[in-house]
């Protein structure tokens, strides 16, 4: 028997506490589970998308302690005590859409919708970073989020539209 397969057995699970969309969750997770798979496969928060699983496309972008990250590159157990905001938590359930979500609808800033949650989370994170002033800044700073439908012009328009309202919301 091959050495690799002879020693192969799933690693022991660990406990981790994460606050996801404002709700504290005590979770038992294997150390090889990414934050992305934790959200999608274990917590049914499927709004966060898997596009490449290698940090190359940005579809899995969430806000981790208010910073935008590729959740496919984050091991869940490494983030004990962290706050995670996903697309499902951007606006309170049953309430109006977040201004960025509304702007994406108004500007038709998506087609298939698969990159959209990542684009929206990334845009909110980008505005918080405070470096985006012009359309060119937005194009550059949003270049970690691929859109194969090619909705880029409308994505830039949506972000410009929602920038002030999002800033105001972040400063509260």
């Amino acid at each position: 028997m091959n050495l690799a397969t002879a020693n192969a057995s799933p690693p022991a699970t660990q406990f981790v506490t994460l606050t996801i969309n404002g709700q504290q969750r005590h979770l038992e997770v294997a150390p090889w589970t990414t934050l992305l798979d934790l959200l999608r496969e274990y917590l049914d928060l499927t709004g966060t998308k898997k596009g490449c699983d290698h940090g190359q496309c940005g579809a899995c972008t969430v806000l981790l302690d208010s910073k935008r990250v590729n959740s496919c590159l984050v091991l869940a157990v490494a983030k004990d005590g962290s706050q995670v905001t996903t697309i499902e938590g951007l606006a309170a359930p049953g309430s109006e859409l977040h201004p960025m979500q509304q702007a994406f609808v108004d500007c038709d800033a998506f087609q298939c919708g698969y990159c959209t949650p990542g684009q929206i989370c990334s845009a909110v994170g980008m505005i918080r970073e405070g470096h985006a002033e012009t359309a060119d800044d937005i194009r550059e700073l949003m270049s970690g989020n691929l859109c194969r439908c090619g909705a880029y012009p409308n994505i830039v328009a949506a972000i410009e539209k929602a920038m002030d309202a999002t800033r105001a919301r972040l400063s509260v």
């Binding site: 397969t5 290698h54 579809a59 697309i87 606006a91 919708g113 909705a151 409308n154």
Partner: protein, 757 residues
């Protein structure tokens, strides 16, 4: 709706539409921006197992061993499926063909035999209790091969080219030669002879192919599938696995992009069904991004073109010979060369399309299949010829304008291409463009302007639609079509509201479920023409039925008005000239004692009208590039595209379709390239990091103009479709602009900076 308008009523015709032609936000928008929209791999059911696919490491040869038993011993692994233990599926090739596959080919069958057909084909499926276990175990699978020599190089195998021997839907064989292209070429004043090439390209929708196959207690399968055709998948699964249609339901409410890659059933569906039925267990199988490079793709192409014009700058000879790759077992056919006999008036034309069989996966239609390829080469050559004739390239195109479809010797159903040239060139500021290359500069950058014509066929297929009006006045319309981001949900809701008179907010459109009534796959830009026309028909029938029932009501609320005297709007039938006389649809149903009114219509293509015409959409594309002279870096700084695509039903989504397609065209021109290592017979750059597509910073100003066209021949709605036309001609406009900027004619895509040095 304004009060005045609601009082005056709106006749339901194309001139005074309530909804059609008005920019309308997507009805599925809120679901997509909140994460509520569920895609194939997102239907989580209890006790779900996960299958991870192992891909082959060699292109040709035989599998001699797989360490499946060792892998199955790993705790948490439920099964390893390989060709050695895979349950038998249907014997005949016929049973493995789908709606889209070539008529006589042998479709690829995963885990069917030890013999390999191409590199990265699936060779095992590891099913585990969790995704992580399955992925880990799959990483430990060792496959031994007895390798055999392979051929994956189109250029090296061009001598083996042969004419197509097969046929498939959507393919039009090259027309017979007209005139004598060769002798006309020999005696012409201006001549161009050149070879153009482009690499294989991969669709790469953002969502990877995935299948969540839910195994019911009764053995019935509910399959959440990424696809452009739920019924095509259902029929395929039933045929391959010998299942009954009543036991297989394929569901696909949201699709994270397709671009043609989901026209045919994909291999993870086959594997998920095989695992679920073998284990009697629900199984999800998703492709990795790397595996997204292991099936359909736009075929690599080499194109030889000879063009000639007489001393007056009139096109006199066209020869276009295209070579495309296909797999060993199937002929993938797309219409590449026919456009060259269609776009301009020319008496002498010779068009040839040939195939080269290689050890690769079968190619598949990718956005504007054939046209994107053929028109890139042809429109580049036209630009070269215009320069030979010292004629402005736009003027050259106008001068050779085709007033009829010379391939078919028929008039066009409509063709506002001249207006496209006029409006787009004016918007772009083309006038005064210097003829000579390297004439325009901005600072240290060279600037170039290029133009191209684009064309796509306006097709229509048979489609069926069902409409159910319920007692609460709500209308549900449905058909088993798909919304791959094109805006199907929205446009069908608009059409239904328009022709039923039910308010938009009370209409819902259902799709993406094989149990709904028949729809063709979503492709070819034919969905609005096909399904939309059927929606119109069923809603018109609904109106007629409501009117008939209203006439039987006590108290005659419409006062004996004729059908022509009433208006259907906002859920009411009103006498147009006396709107006080009205009755709501709900009241009609109640009076008739009905809890619902259900109608079903099948719409056939307008074959008789269409048979006498050539039916196409057209575009005029203008591009500006900026090239750093020292570094060779190229930016596409502006694109203006004018589209003559029939009636535009939702200008908002239509504009988005064209914008996106222009991004695709820029991508084709500048970025996309499947890099084959012919030594290994394998695509080397199978990731988003190495297979380049544009990011936000690559895309600058894009402007879309819709030129109105009234066309009663193409279909009942007069719409020609938006999915493909936007990409066609973009790569040639960019290539022509690069030449104008630099004086360098790049004939092989993508135009990367090394080709300018």
């Amino acid at each position: 709706m304004s009060l005045l308008k609601s009082i005056l009523g709106t006749a339901v015709n194309t001139d005074a539409a309530e909804h059609l032609g008005k920019p309308t936000r997507r009805v599925d928008g809120p679901a997509k921006v909140t994460g509520a929209a569920k895609y194939a791999a997102e239907f989580n059911v209890p006790n779900l197992a996960y299958g991870v696919i192992v891909s082959s490491g060699v292109a040709r040869g035989t599998i001699t061993s797989i360490n499946a038993a060792e892998i199955e011993a790993i705790p948490g692994v439920l099964k390893v499926l390989t060709h050695e233990n895979a349950p038998k599926t249907a014997w005949l090739d016929r049973s493995h063909r789908d709606q889209i596959s070539s008529k006589g080919g042998s479709p690829f069958r995963p885990l069917y035999q030890a013999e390999l057909q191409y590199s990265a084909q699936p060779v095992a499926l590891v099913v585990g209790e969790t995704f992580e276990i399955a992925r880990f175990a799959a990483s430990l699978v060792r496959v031994e091969y007895d390798e055999k020599p392979h051929e994956t190089d189109l250029h090296a195998n061009q001598a083996a080219a042969h004419p197509p021997t097969d046929n498939s839907g959507g393919y039009t064989p090259a027309p017979k030669p007209r005139g004598d292209a060769e002798s006309a070429f020999e005696k012409a004043a201006f001549r161009v002879e050149a070879e153009y090439s482009q690499p294989s390209e991969f669709h790469n929708p953002m969502e990877s192919y995935a299948s969540t196959c839910v195994y019911g207690e009764d053995g019935k399968l509910t399959i959440y599938q990424k696809t452009q055709g739920v019924q095509n998948c259902q029929a395929y699964v039933c045929s391959v696995f010998g299942l009954s249609k009543k036991d297989v339901q394929v569901i696909s409410p949201y699709v994270g992009g397709g671009f043609g890659s989901g026209l045919r059933p994909t291999y993870e569906l086959y594997l998920a069904v095989m695992a679920a039925t073998a284990l009697k267990h629900s199984v999800r199988v998703s492709m990795t991004r790397q595996q997204m490079f292991s099936f359909s793709h736009r075929p690599e192409a080499v194109q030889q073109i000879k063009l000639a014009a007489n001393g007056d700058g009139l096109l006199d000879s066209v020869t276009h010979h295209a070579f495309e790759e296909t797999s060993r077992k199937e002929e993938f056919l797309e219409t590449v060369v026919n456009w060259s006999g269609l776009l301009y008036t020319c008496p002498n034309v010779s068009l040839v399309h040939q195939l080269v069989n290689l050890d690769v996966a079968s190619p598949e239609s990718m956005r504007a299949p054939g046209a994107a390829t053929g028109i890139f080469a042809f429109e580049s050559a036209i630009d070269e010829l215009a320069y030979q004739a010292k004629t402005d390239p736009l003027e050259f195109r106008r001068k050779n304008y085709a007033e009829k479809d010379q391939n078919l010797d028929k008039p066009f159903s409509s063709k506002e291409l001249r207006a496209c040239y006029d409006q787009a060139s004016e918007r772009f500021g083309w006038q005064g463009r210097p003829l000579e290359p390297r004439s325009l500069r901005k600072g240290s950058d060279l600037i170039g302007w290029g133009v191209s014509t684009g064309c796509w066929e306006a097709m229509q297929q048979k489609a069926e639609v069902k409409a159910v009006l319920t007692a609460d006045g709500k209308l549900t319309v449905s058909s088993a079509t798909s919304d791959i981001g094109t805006g199907t949900y929205t446009v069908m809701t608009m059409i239904a509201a328009e022709f039923s008179g039910v308010a938009m907010e009370n209409v819902s459109f259902e799709l993406g479920d094989s149990s709904l009534v028949y729809s063709p796959v979503e492709g070819g830009s034919w969905t609005v023409a096909s399904v939309g026309s059927a929606v119109k028909s069923v809603c018109e029938e609904l109106r007629a039925k409501l009117f008939k029932l209203a006439g039987k009501m006590d108290g005659r609320p419409l006062g004996g008005a004729e059908l022509a005297d009433v208006t259907f709007v906002n859920g009411e039938v009103r006498v147009t000239k006396d709107p006080v006389k009205s009755v709501t649809y709900a009241e009609v149903l109640e009076a008739a004692g009905l809890d619902k009114l259900e109608l079903d219509t099948t719409e056939q293509p307008q074959l008789i009208k269409r048979a006498t015409h050539g039916c196409y959409s057209h575009s005029a594309v203008f591009a500006e590039v900026s090239v750093d002279e020292d570094l060779g870096t190229i930016h596409v700084t502006r694109v203006v595209s004018a589209i003559a695509g029939g009636r535009i039903l939702n200008p908002m989504a239509a504009r988005s379709q064209i914008l996106g397609a222009i991004v695709w065209g820029i991508s084709m021109a500048m970025a996309e390239e499947g890099l084959m290592d012919h030594g290994l017979g394998r695509c080397m750059n199978h990731s988003y990091a190495e297979y380049h597509v544009p990011v936000n910073a690559d895309i600058h100003d894009i402007e879309v103009i819709f030129v109105p066209e009234h066309d009663e021949i193409v279909n009942a709605l007069g719409a020609k479709g938006m999915g493909e036309i936007g990409i066609v001609g973009v790569a040639s406009a960019v290539a022509n602009a690069v030449w104008h900027a630099t004086g360098k004619r790049v004939r092989s895509l993508p135009i990367t900076l090394d080709k300018l040095l």
